[in-house]
Symmetry: C2
Subunit: 600 residues, 2 copies
């Protein structure tokens, strides 16, 4: 009869052939025990308590690991080194489970089990001896219990310095890519200082999370403006600036790099984390931003068919890119969907788990570009429309990004006068995206603008407060932004022969945050009117997804699969799109059967 393993407190009983490793048995039975170091008995993260049954013999390193956690070698063992030879009753301390982190993508929160592509493991190296003349690297390899240890070319210099400087018996910390590639090596045990960055590289706004790679928790977040904005508010202007002008392209690259480094430096100052303690960075940006960031030519993006150099970039050492983090750390770019729709959207699909959602789901990311992905049972189709930065508060006379003092809500009081609220209840200094939607809805309702967007008063100016107003030009900018999104949505639905009523869910990511008034958005026609609960605001999914890609190889593999699988619907030179775009300029609700070859 096979030995039985009883797991407390649930008294769940597992059976395994004698000679089987307990760690493998637990994993195969779906118990998420943490085999961080790859079953090599090096990390001490899979400790189990043995309540009855014979204690297996203990290895020297195992004893040190158990005692370093103030546990007794009389009751505890590493599950990965525990070979089953009889019946046992065991329990798992809470720290022996794989940590999970919860993404925040609002209303769709997803739990990600940590499955890092980079690991930190503290080991003793095996010193060479006259009769065992292995190299210092081979001594490290033995210490890591590996038969194979690859090195990136740039790594050998750092590793050689460290290995040449230590004495026999010293502890070193290996930073490993996957299980077999040495990324770097550090003196002493540095495993508790282990951080990564998730970066949302927006055309207008940048956001950076600094994440503890031990727990998956966000330590701090910084948000700032993309320094490229001074070269032009929208991507197209910047691409044209850089087109066949390497000096300008380099200036654009420096601008975005400086912005990221400045956010990083603020984060490090606030958290006391040092640059060398950041070992992995994930960047989610649109195609152009990714190219600018890497310093690659954007010439292909300037002219039809608007092809980028890559859809999946190789992992690049951070030092090569000038990022102020550990130079041997790697930078992973969220893959683009083919070469057209950016990694920020792939990242959004990851954060919202779009691939696993039921029914027909439209994902809409409102940034400076409007990016749309429609998921049906036949797969996903993506498209991209040039919305412009109006909803981010740019290109509007009194526009403001979502910041204290920005009007983010507006409504008509019973006496039809206009009331506004500001972020942080500060005195109004301008209007942000959600405020603009509310204002347009109110002005139309009151007849100050007609459905064609024409301001009805002779001054051609709509007062919001004594200082803040919308001009006819502002209204036109909003119409253009709205029409781009609307027409894109319409084309996607039409391509799938669907109407808005077929949509089970609309997920809105990006500029509006959670504060958009869905009723007003529907009444001006920005979004279709759907039964309550079907429209959900999911926040900055680009940043959330970047964090998932930082923490999980499983999510990376999914993103890379989506990169090749998501179909692309080109709009730029489609005549139907031009026609629908013009019709979509009106502030008018979507007809209930929109899509299916009708106009919105």
């Amino acid at each position: 009869m096979s030995p039985h393993i009883t797991i407390l407190p649930d008294n769940c009983i597992l059976e395994a052939p004698a000679g089987f490793a307990l760690g493998d048995l637990l994993v195969q039975s779906g118990i998420p025990i943490n085999l961080y170091c790859g079953r090599r008995g090096l990390c001490g993260k899979c400790i189990v308590e043995i309540h009855s049954g014979d204690l297996p013999p203990i290895e020297e390193r195992e004893r040190i690991l158990i005692e370093s956690k103030n546990l007794s070698p009389d009751r505890f063992r590493l599950a990965c080194r525990f070979i089953i030879h009889g019946d046992h009753v065991i329990s798992l301390p809470s720290f022996s489970f794989i940590p999970k982190t919860h993404l925040l993508a609002r209303g769709t929160g997803k739990a990600i089990p940590l499955d890092l592509s980079v690991k930190k493991i503290a080991v003793h190296t095996f010193p060479p001896a006259l009769h065992s003349p292995h190299s210092l690297l081979d001594g490290l390899k033995k210490g890591l219990g590996l038969s194979e240890l690859r090195l990136a070319p740039e790594t050998i210099f750092t590793v050689a310095e460290v290995l040449s400087g230590i004495s026999s018996g010293d502890v070193v910390t290996a930073i490993l890519d996957g299980d077999e590639e040495l990324r770097s090596l550090e003196r002493s045990d540095t495993t508790t200082r282990f951080f990564g960055l998730a970066v949302d590289l927006g055309t207008t706004t940048l956001a950076v999370d600094i994440v503890d790679l031990g727990s998956g928790n966000v330590v701090d977040t910084a948000v700032g403006t993309n320094g490229q904005s001074s070269f032009g508010a929208d991507v197209v202007t910047r691409i044209k600036t850089a087109y066949r002008d390497p000096a300008q392209a380099a200036a654009l690259r420096r601008a975005v790099l400086a912005s990221i480094n400045s956010l990083i430096s603020g984060l490090l100052r606030r958290t006391g984390i040092r640059p060398v303690e950041i070992y992995e960075t994930v960047i989610a940006g649109n195609t152009a931003m990714s190219h600018f960031f890497l310093g690659l030519p954007v010439d292909g993006l300037a002219v039809a068919p608007f092809a980028g150099v890559f859809s999946m970039a190789p992992l690049i050492p951070a030092g090569r890119l000038g990022l102020d983090v550990n130079p041997l750390g790697r930078v992973y770019l969220a893959p683009n969907l083919q070469s057209f729709v950016g990694g920020d959207i792939t990242s959004g699909l990851i954060a919202t788990d779009l691939a696993s959602r039921r029914g027909n789901v439209l994902f809409l990311d409102l940034g400076t570009n409007g990016e749309l992905v429609l998921k049906t049972e036949r797969g996903m189709t993506a498209t991209s429309t040039a919305a412009g930065p109006a909803f981010e508060g740019m290109s509007i006379s009194c526009g403001l990004s979502a910041q204290p003092g920005a009007i983010d809500k507006a409504f008509l009081t019973p006496d039809r006068s206009l009331a506004v609220e500001t972020i942080g209840r500060e005195s109004a200094r301008g209007v942000c995206g959600t405020g603009l939607v509310d204002l347009i809805a109110a002005f139309i309702h009151r007849g100050d603008i007609n459905v064609q967007g024409k301001i009805q008063n002779p001054e051609k100016r709509l007062l919001v407060t004594s200082q803040i107003f919308l001009t006819q030009q502002d209204v036109r900018e909003i119409q253009l932004a709205m029409a781009a999104i609307k027409a894109g949505m319409h084309m996607l639905l039409a391509a799938e022969w669907m109407s808005v009523q077929d949509l089970d869910e609309v997920l809105v990511a990006g500029a509006f945050g959670a504060f958009l008034n869905v009723g007003n958005a529907a009444s001006i026609g920005l979004l279709p009117r759907l039964p309550p609960g079907r429209v959900r605001f999911v926040g900055n999914t680009s940043l959330e997804g970047a964090r998932a890609l930082l923490l999980s190889r499983t999510e990376r593999r999914l993103a890379e699969r989506l990169s090749g699988e998501v179909r692309h619907l080109p709009l730029a030179q489609d005549e139907a799109f031009q026609q629908i775009f013009i019709e979509a300029l009106d502030f008018r609700e979507w007809p209930a059967d929109s899509g299916r070859r009708s106009s919105p």
Copy 2:
């Protein structure tokens, strides 16, 4: 019945199931047809002529490749794209066989079929289109017929420049590592310009072959002095100079790099080859030289147990090392035997094919270090002795390297007077290694020196010509060098319980070239006296082996296997060695049963 393929002119008949590719059938039948591009129909190197049987349909690219060789699409096809569906009579043009190159290691010449780790393939990329929005890289991947194309981080920048600068329909040349990693990309078809370097990185002397990677032939060779010599003649002095002194270590690195680059620059000037046309470099050097060349600390080599940082270095981009070749080209270091015996010796084992030789074979490389490898049916054992540079003509009053004007032969005339010959018949300017052995043998025979090496005349000086002489100190240097080699050889034989009579072959590589007088070497005791033909001079096997490692992945795999398998016999702190070394100082023939716990 399966289709039959008859191959002219031998009328050899092969049988294959219908649907099988002709290229695969030929390879599986042991016919070395050249499937260079990995069966993708891209390189046109596997063309066959069809004498009878139905011509299979031709692909567009196939037609272009065949016509570019002035062959007719009515008679020729690519074997790799040829799916067998009936009986055929074919023949193979000579250019469709895998080229072989012959290594020169004297007396052991080995034929190496080209099996390059780097390939050049000219292709059209697939331009992206609005409805096929793949990235430029994906267009290249399609052009290469690959489902997977990896990029080294440093490569993407160059590749992006090239891809962004070409027009649709242009040809590019991909430089591939293995079959799936893109190393670089070039405009237009550059496949005919494809070179590599094999470098023997000696302590005293450097030699560089520039090799045509298309044919495997050596285009030119350059030999020069290692600029590190001014830091000390032997390795130990240089290691001590660099020990814990990064500035000196850097100076030593610069010295050796400048010497290599100067040889490369001379080769390029003479051959008209440009630096960017050199895509792969193999370096074979001893452990210390390899560390100096890479710029790694040699501190571990300075003190017992004399451990190097690595035994196998990663492939490093040449640009990172400052080598004046294509910066994206890779540098492969011949692996060390464990961390003790250098890649120059591994390279020698490859050049002489030691692993496949029959019987008991002693490989002896006489450089500034004497390195010895004994191959028996129980495997290989290596050891290393500090011979010093005497046999390279250094540290001898009138010493000279093997160059025109150096005395390389000496003998006694019937009247017992001394006669000498010089290299190039020029007037004598000094004595090189082979000359020293002859001179010592002659002086002993005439009684000018006794077997203990003592000069018998009161002047303590032995005149060779009116200007050239040996001092007592010179004789002592030669004794020390000889004793190191002799004692090493003895220890190796003793470790295997063998006597010199058990040796089937002694292969002598290094300084002496083919010109050593074996009789004289035996009479002074430098080499054992063996039946004629058992001692063979194999020349510079470090350089030959480097060339094999440049041209063949099979040879690299063998070298890497040997690196882990060859046992090491440490001598430095062995008391028996000290004792035998002292006895070996005498100029005395080996007893016939030397080894087997007797003294030499």
